[in-house]
C-alpha cells in the first residue's frame, strides 16, 4: 500500500557528543574484557552484553524488548581510569588552549576588540565559513598576558599525534580538561560557538561511547567459531588496558608505570577512532591485517558515505547480456519471458480492473501475478495452495503484483553512466531467448556493443515514476542530445547503406517496390511510376523513400547529388514530403547530427521522429537484403595509372627527404627559433612525410572506382573513410609516436636492420607499402608500436576523465533553474541570471541556435 510521506526530515544539526547525553544513552558500563563465558554466552558487562542490542534471530533485546532488526541497538560506555585526548579533535584542542587563558578561562582578547570579534563571527556565519573561525581572531589576540587576570600566557605546543606541551612540561589530558572547563559560556558564544552543543572539554574523552552491537555484529563461521568485528577487538583492547590502569592506580603503582599505561590507553583509544593517524603504527589484527576502525568505515569509495549512503541498491531490476535485434522498434527492448515472469509491477485493484486482475491471477502461464498485498500491508505469495483464497478475498484497495507485460515502460541503463542518455526509457517487448535485445541504432548513446556487454533494466513501481518515464525518459524524447542540440541516434551500417543505395539511383519494378513498402510497414498507395522502360513500369528509389517522410516536410541542405552517373556536390531538396533531388546519407539520417532527423524531430515532435527512424531502419534493411554488398580483394585493386602516380609520390618524397638529409649533413638548415638544427630537421621531415600521406589520400579519393563497394560504404558514411582505402591500396605513411618520428630502440638506430645514425624515412617509421600488398617486417613493427601507444592512451585516459567527471558532477549537481530562470546553487547563490545568456534549452534548439531560414 502506498503511503504518503508523513514525516520529512527538515534539517540535520551536527554537534559534539556531550558526556551528559552519553550518560543518558548508555545502557551498560563495560568493565570486563571477556566477551563470552565458557558456555558461549555473552558476559554481562562485557562487550557483547545483550543490553546493547540483538544480532541473533529470535533473541529479545534486554533493554527495549524488541527483536532483531526492529531493535536498532543501544550504546554502552567505558569509564576510562584516566581521561585521554580525542584524536579527531586535537587540532581544535590546540587552538582552544592557545586562545583562552589557562588561569581564568577568558579569551585572550583585549576588551575593546570584543565587538570586532562579534562582527567577524557574524559575517563568517553568513558566509557559511565558520571553519576559519580561529584564523580570523588570530590578529586580535593579546600575547603574553591575560587582559583579565594578568596571568602569563605560554604557547601550548602540540607534539603529534596527541601530546601537549607548555614549554617543556607535558600537560596531561586531565589538566587540559580542567583548563577548558574554566572557559565561560559567554566567551564561546562571542566566538560564534554554541556551548549547548559543544563545550571544549568534551573533546577530552572521559567516558568512551561503546557503539551498539548491531554496528559491530559478529559472524559465526562454519566451524561454529565466532569471529568478532574489528571494532569489538579494538574495544576489548581498550577495556583490558583500562582495567590494568585502574588496578595500578588503586595499587599505588609508581608514576612512570601509570604514565606508560596511560599512554597505551591513549594509543588504543586513538586507533579506535582512526587507525590511519600519521606517526602512529596502525593497530593490527592477530593475522597482521590492519584493523578497520571508525574513520576507516566512513572514508573512501568503499566507505559508508560513498558506498552505502550515496549509493543505493534496488529491487525490481534485471541484468543480462545484450544482443541485437534490428527488427524491433528503437524505443523497444526485448525482454526474455524468463525475466518478465520474475519482475512485477504493483497494480491497485479498482472496479475497472478487478476482472482482468482476477483472470491474470488465475492464469498459470506467463501473464500472471506473483504476489498480492492486502490493505493492511501483508504480502501474500500466489501459489497453488493460496490461489483460491486470494481470488475470493481480492477486493478493491488490494494491490496485485502482476508480471511484466508487453508495452510496460522500463528504464534501461548501461554503465558507465556518463550522460543522461545512458539511462533511457523503453517499451517492453517480450521475446524468447535469454538476452536483452535492443535495436543496434540505439547502441550509440549507451556506447554499447554486442561482444558480451551486459545492461540493467529497472521497473518503475509507482504511477508517478511511470509517468516520468513515459513523458521524459522514453528514448523518443532523447533523440536530440542536450550536449550539442542535434540528434544523437541515427541509422548506421547496413540500413544506412540501404537508404543510400535506394536514394542514389535504384530503379524498382512493381514487385520490388511493393516488397519494400510492405517490409517497411507503410500503408500507402504506390505512387505513379517514374519511368517506363520496355513496357515495364519502374519506380525511382527516391519515390519509395518519400513515402516515409511526413507529408508537408520541406527541407533543403548541401549534400551529394547524382548527376550524369557521377556523384557531385549539390543540394538535397525535399518538397512537400517528396525527395526531389539528392542522396540521403549519413549527414542526413546518420547518428551524431543527422540533419533530417533533427528537422523531423523539431517540426513534428518525438513520436513522428521515432517513427521516421524506425521506418528508415526497416526500409534500409529491406534494400540491403535486395542488394548484394560484399567486399572482395578486387575492391582494393587500383588502376595501373594510379599505381604509377602513387609510386611517383613515393619518389618525390624520397627525393625531398634526401635533399633535406644532405642539407643537414652540410649544416645548411636554418634552425627555427628555440630549436636546434636537429629538431628543425625533424619537424621539416615530418612535414614532408605527412604531405606524402595526405597526397595519396587525395589521389585515391579523386580516382575511386564508383562501382567499388568499399567506396560506396565510405560515401554513405556506413563504413570506413576514403582514407582507409588509401591505406590499403596506396601506402600507410609515417607512423607518429607522441608527435615525433619513431626515435628510439638501439643505440643510434631503431631496429638492427638499419645502419647506425640513419635518419632516412624508412628507418624511422615511414611505411611505404599498403596493407593490401602487405607491409615489410620492419614496417609491421613500427605499425605495432603506434598501435600500442593508442592502447596505452586509452588505458590512462579512462580513470583520468572519470575522476574529472566525478568532480564536475559533484561541484555542479545542485545547480538548478529557478522559477525566475536564474541558475542558483543549493545555498541559493546566483550563478547566472539566465542560462547561457539566452535561456535556450540546447536539447530543444537547432544545434544551439534558432533556425528560421525555412
Amino acid at each position: 500500500m502506498q503511503k504518503a510521506i508523513s514525516k520529512k526530515i527538515d534539517h540535520i544539526v551536527f554537534r559534539v557528543l556531550s558526556p551528559a547525553i552519553l550518560k543518558k544513552l548508555s545502557v551498560v558500563n563495560i568493565i570486563t574484557p571477556e566477551i563470552y563465558d565458557a558456555d558461549g554466552y555473552p558476559v554481562e558487562k562485557g562487550l557483547m552484553d545483550p543490553a546493547m542490542g540483538v544480532i541473533d534471530p529470535g533473541m529479545k533485546c534486554k533493554t527495549c524488548g524488541s527483536y532483531m532488526k526492529s531493535c536498532l541497538g543501544h550504546f554502552g560506555k567505558i569509564s576510562l581510569a584516566k581521561p585521554v585526548v580525542h584524536i579527531l579533535f586535537v587540532e581544535y584542542l590546540k587552538v582552544f588552549l592557545n586562545t583562552f587563558c589557562k588561569h581564568c578561562g577568558r579569551a585572550l582578547v583585549v576588551h575593546n576588540k570584543l565587538k570586532e570579534i562579534g562582527d567577524r563571527t557574524k559575517t563568517l556565519r553568513n558566509e557559511n565559513n565558520l571553519g576559519n573561525l580561529f584564523k580570523n581572531i588570530k590578529d586580535l589576540k593579546t600575547e603574553k598576558q591575560c587582559p583579565y587576570c594578568n596571568a602569563e600566557f605560554k604557547v601550548v605546543k602540540l607534539v603529534k599525534p596527541t601530546n601537549f606541551f607548555e614549554g617543556d612540561i607535558q600537560i596531561w589530558p586531565n589538566e587540559i580538561r580542567e583548563r577548558l572547563e574554566k572557559i565561560p559560556d559567554e566567551d564561546l558564544v562571542m566566538l560564534g560557538l554554541d556551548p549547548s552543543g559543544m563545550r571544549p572539554e568534551w573533546m577530552i574523552v572521559v567516558d568512551l561511547a561503546v557503539p551498539p552491537i548491531t554496528t559491530r555484529s559478529s559472524i559465526t563461521l562454519q566451524s561454529g567459531e565466532r569471529s568478532e568485528d574489528d571494532l569489538t577487538h579494538k574495544l576489548s583492547d581498550i577495556v583490558r588496558v583500562n582495567q590494568r590502569l585502574l588496578e595500578n592506580i588503586n595499587a599505588g603503582a609508581p608514576e612512570i608505570i601509570v604514565e606508560d599505561l596511560w599512554d597505551l590507553l591513549q594509543y588504543h583509544v586513538t586507533t579506535f577512532f582512526n587507525n590511519k593517524v600519521a606517526q602512529i603504527p596502525p593497530a593490527r589484527h592477530r593475522t597482521k591485517r590492519e584493523l578497520k576502525t571508525l574513520a576507516q568505515r566512513l572514508e573512501g569509495k568503499e566507505g559508508r558515505f560513498r558506498y552505502n549512503l550515496a549509493g543505493k541498491r534496488v529491487n525490481f531490476c534485471a541484468r543480462s547480456v545484450l544482443s541485437a535485434d534490428p527488427y524491433i522498434d528503437i524505443d523497444e527492448i526485448g525482454v526474455p519471458t524468463r525475466i518478465a515472469k520474475h519482475l512485477t509491477i504493483p497494480e491497485t485493484v479498482t472496479d475497472w480492473n478487478i476482472k482482468w486482475l482476477k483472470k491474470i491471477i488465475k492464469s498459470d502461464v506467463y501473464p500472471s501475478a506473483n504476489y498480492v498485498i492486502t490493505p493492511d500491508g501483508k504480502r501474500r505469495r500466489i501459489t497453488v495452495d493460496t490461489i483460491s483464497a486470494i481470488l475470493e478475498e481480492l477486493d478493491i484497495g488490494w494491490v496485485v503484483e502482476r508480471q511484466l507485460l508487453e508495452g510496460d515502460v522500463i528504464v534501461f541503463n548501461r554503465q558507465p553512466s556518463l550522460h543522461r542518455l545512458s539511462m533511457m526509457g523503453h517499451r517492453v517487448k517480450i521475446l524468447p531467448g535469454k538476452t536483452l535485445r535492443i535495436n543496434p541504432i540505439v547502441c550509440l548513446p549507451y556506447n554499447a556493443d554486442f561482444d558480451g556487454d551486459e545492461m540493467n533494466l529497472h521497473l518503475p513501481q509507482t504511477e508517478e515514476a511511470r509517468s516520468e518515464v513515459d513523458n521524459l525518459l522514453l528514448l523518443k524524447h532523447q533523440i536530440i542530445t542536450p550536449r550539442y542540440g542535434l540528434s544523437i541516434i541515427g541509422n548506421l551500417e547496413d540500413n544506412l547503406l540501404g537508404v543510400y543505395y535506394l536514394t542514389r539511383d535504384l530503379l524498382l519494378n512493381r514487385e520490388d517496390a511493393c516488397q519494400l513498402i510492405s517490409a517497411t510497414g507503410i500503408v500507402a498507395k504506390l505512387p505513379k511510376p517514374a519511368r517506363k522502360e520496355k513496357g515495364e513500369e519502374l519506380w525511382d528509389g527516391k519515390q519509395i523513400f518519400s513515402l516515409i517522410l511526413p507529408r508537408d516536410l520541406n527541407f533543403e541542405h548541401q549534400g551529394k547529388i547524382m548527376q550524369k552517373g557521377k556523384i557531385t556536390k549539390g543540394s538535397i531538396k525535399i518538397k512537400n514530403g517528396t525527395l526531389m533531388e539528392g542522396i540521403i546519407d549519413k549527414v542526413f539520417i546518420g547518428p551524431e547530427g543527422g540533419l533530417l532527423i533533427h528537422k523531423v524531430f523539431g517540426d513534428y515532435g518525438p513520436d513522428i521522429a521515432a517513427d521516421f527512424l524506425n521506418k528508415c531502419n526497416l526500409l534500409g534493411l529491406a534494400v540491403s537484403r535486395k542488394i548484394a554488398h560484399t567486399i572482395s580483394f578486387y575492391d582494393l585493386d587500383i588502376s595501373e595509372e594510379q599505381e604509377k602516380d602513387i609510386a611517383s609520390i613515393l619518389v618525390t618524397t624520397e627525393k625531398e627527404s634526401k635533399l633535406l638529409l644532405k642539407k643537414l649533413d652540410d649544416g645548411k638548415i636554418i634552425a627555427l627559433p628555440g630549436k636546434t638544427m636537429k629538431e628543425t630537421f625533424e619537424t621539416e621531415m615530418l612535414r614532408i612525410l605527412s604531405i606524402a600521406r595526405s597526397s595519396v589520400g587525395e589521389l585515391v579519393e579523386k580516382n575511386v572506382k564508383e562501382a567499388s563497394t568499399l567506396v560506396n560504404s565510405a560515401r554513405a558514411g556506413a563504413g570506413d573513410k576514403i582514407l582507409n582505402i588509401a591505406l590499403m591500396s596506396g601506402f600507410v605513411g609515417q607512423q607518429a609516436l607522441r608527435g615525433e618520428r619513431i626515435n628510439f630502440g638501439y643505440a643510434g638506430r631503431t631496429l638492427p636492420h638499419f645502419k647506425k645514425d640513419d635518419l632516412s624515412p624508412e628507418s624511422h617509421g615511414f611505411i611505404k607499402s599498403g596493407y593490401a600488398r602487405g607491409v615489410q617486417p620492419t614496417e609491421f613493427f613500427f605499425n605495432a608500436i603506434v598501435g600500442r601507444e593508442s592502447y596505452m592512451d586509452t588505458a590512462m585516459r579512462t580513470p583520468k576523465s572519470g575522476y574529472m567527471q566525478r568532480r564536475l558532477i559533484n561541484a555542479l549537481q545542485d545547480l538548478k533553474i529557478e522559477y525566475d530562470h536564474s541558475i542558483r546553487d543549493s545555498g541559493r547563490r546566483i550563478i547566472q541570471f539566465n542560462f547561457g545568456g539566452d535561456n535556450i534549452d540546447v536539447s530543444k534548439s537547432d544545434g544551439g541556435s534558432i533556425n528560421v531560414k525555412d
Binding site: N126, L130, R687, Q813, L815, I817, R828, I831, I850
Partner: protein, 429 residues
C-alpha cells in the same frame, strides 16, 4: 537598414539577420511573419524551471572527456609552438591549476605593424627573454686573476639587435660587488671577493642573467595567421607585454588563467576558461554547446576569484555538510561541522539521496501544499488528487521548497539573495 514600418523590430534585430532579410528581399508582411515565427520558436526553446542544468553541463563536458586524446602537442610538422591540448589541458583548466605545463601568449600587433613581417620578427626577438649564455660562446674562469671572461657571439647579438655596451651596462646593474669591463668582443668581470668557490658560483649565476627582452618569455615565434602576423610565445608576461606600444592590447591573450585574472580581471578569466575549453573540444571535433562551458566558467568565477572544481575549490564552499562529506575527506568535514555546530538544511541532491527523500530538483521540485482541516479525515479523494498533481509537475504554481525554506529560515534566504545580487552588480560596475 530595414524597410519595416515597425521600428521595434528593426531595432531589435541583430545586424546579421537584418542583412540576410535585405538580401532576400522579404516583404514587410513576410518579415513580420518571420519574426513572429522566430519568437514562437524561441518560446518553445526556453529552459524548464527546475532543470538540473548543472548535471547536464557536467555530463556534457565529462562524457566527451572519455574520448579526448591524452596527447599534449599541437599539429604535426607545422612550424608552430606546442601548446597543451586534449584531456590534460581541460583538466588543467577545470582544476584552475596555478602551475600549468605550457604557458603561452598570442600577441597581436596594431594595425600598420601586423602586416609587416620584418617588424614582427624583430619584435619577436626583442621581447624574448635573453639569458647571457644564449648570446655568448664561452664562459672562461681565469684562475690566475680570478676573473670571468665572457666570449660573446657577435652573430646572435646582431639578430637580437643588442649592443655590447648595453650588455655591459645591464651586467653592471645586475652583478654586484664586481667590475665589468669590455674587452673587444668579450666581457671581463672582476669580482671584488677573490674566493675561487664564490667566483665559480658567480660564473654559473651569470650564465642565466637576463640581458634583454621581457622576463618570463622563454621563446617567441612570428607566424602569419589570417592575413596578419602574430607572435606566439612560450612563457607569459601580460603586464609587461602591454607596455610595448606596438602591441594590440585588445586582442593579445595569455593562456594563464591566474595571470589573466590578475591583469585583465575576473571577467576576462571567465571568458578565457570558455575559450580555452571550447578550443580544445573544437580541435578534437567534439561538439559541446558553449552555454555549458559558460556555466562551468561562471561557477568557477562566481566569487570574483578563480576556484577550481576540486575539494579545495568549489566543493569546499558547499552549504551542506553531507554534500561535502560525500565527496572527499568526509571525516574532516564532519568534525568541523560538529565543533562549529553547522546545520544541514538538505537543500541539494546528495543529502536527500542519503536520507531517502525526494530530491528538490527537476520533477522533485514542485509540490502541492494542501491545507488539511482535521488531521483524521483525509479522504482518499484528496489523496489521489495530490498524487495526480505531482505527476503533472509543471502545472502546480507554487514551489514547495521555496515556501518551506522561507518559513523555516526567514533570515537566511533573503540575505544571501540580496547579497549575491549586490556582488554581481558591483562586479558589473
Amino acid at each position: 537598414m530595414l524597410k519595416t514600418k515597425d521600428p521595434l523590430f528593426s531595432a531589435k534585430l541583430p545586424s546579421k539577420v537584418s542583412a540576410e532579410i535585405k538580401a532576400r528581399k522579404l516583404s514587410p508582411d513576410k518579415q513580420k511573419k518571420l519574426i513572429k515565427y522566430a519568437e514562437e520558436r524561441y518560446e518553445n526553446m526556453i529552459m524548464a524551471p527546475g532543470e538540473a542544468i548543472g548535471i547536464i553541463a557536467a555530463q556534457s563536458l565529462g562524457e566527451p572527456g572519455t574520448q579526448l586524446t591524452m596527447r599534449t602537442f599541437h599539429f604535426v610538422g607545422v612550424a608552430e609552438l606546442n601548446v597543451t591540448t586534449g584531456l590534460p589541458r581541460i583538466i588543467e583548466i577545470v582544476d584552475a591549476r596555478k602551475t600549468v605545463k605550457n604557458k603561452a601568449m598570442i600577441i597581436h600587433l596594431k594595425s600598420p605593424y601586423n602586416k609587416d613581417k620584418q617588424f614582427a620578427n624583430k619584435l619577436a626577438h626583442r621581447i624574448k627573454q635573453i639569458p647571457l649564455k644564449e648570446i655568448s660562446d664561452e664562459f672562461i674562469l681565469d684562475i690566475a686573476n680570478l676573473t670571468i671572461n665572457i666570449e660573446l657571439n657577435k652573430n646572435t647579438i646582431k639578430t637580437y639587435g643588442l649592443k655590447i655596451a648595453e650588455i655591459v651596462a645591464s651586467l653592471e646593474k645586475q652583478v654586484k660587488k664586481s667590475s665589468v669591463k669590455q674587452d673587444g668582443a668579450s666581457i671581463v668581470i672582476d669580482p671584488t671577493d677573490k674566493d675561487l668557490r664564490k667566483v665559480y658560483k658567480l660564473k654559473e649565476k651569470i650564465k642565466n642573467i637576463q640581458i634583454g627582452g621581457i622576463k618570463g618569455i622563454i621563446n617567441t615565434l612570428a607566424v602569419k595567421k589570417n592575413n596578419e602576423y602574430i607572435i606566439q610565445t612560450y612563457g607569459t608576461n601580460l603586464k609587461d607585454i602591454f607596455t610595448v606600444p606596438e602591441v594590440d592590447t585588445t586582442k593579445t591573450i595569455s593562456n594563464d588563467l591566474y595571470e589573466t585574472a590578475a591583469v585583465l580581471g575576473i571577467e576576462a578569466a571567465r571568458q578565457l576558461i570558455v575559450n580555452e575549453i571550447y578550443k580544445v573540444l573544437e580541435e578534437e571535433g567534439m561538439p559541446v554547446d558553449i552555454r555549458y562551458l559558460m556555466l562551468i566558467a561562471d561557477t568557477m568565477c562566481k566569487d570574483g576569484d578563480l576556484k577550481g572544481i576540486t575539494r579545495h575549490g568549489i566543493t569546499k564552499e558547499k552549504k551542506s555538510v553531507l554534500a561535502r562529506a560525500s565527496f572527499e575527506i568526509p571525516l574532516k568535514h564532519l568534525i568541523n561541522a560538529s565543533v562549529v555546530g553547522e546545520v544541514d538544511y538538505l537543500t541539494s541532491v546528495v543529502e536527500n539521496i542519503m536520507i531517502n527523500q525526494p530530491i528538490p530538483i527537476g520533477t522533485g521540485l514542485p509540490a502541492l501544499i494542501v491545507k488539511v482541516k482535521s488531521k483524521q479525515n483525509v479522504s482518499p479523494a484528496s489523496k489521489s488528487k495530490t498524487l495526480k498533481d505531482k505527476s503533472r509537475p509543471r502545472a502546480s504554481p507554487i514551489s514547495k521548497s521555496k515556501t518551506l525554506k522561507d518559513k523555516s529560515r526567514p533570515r537566511a534566504s533573503p540575505i544571501s539573495k540580496s547579497k549575491t545580487l549586490k556582488d554581481k552588480k558591483n562586479k558589473k560596475k
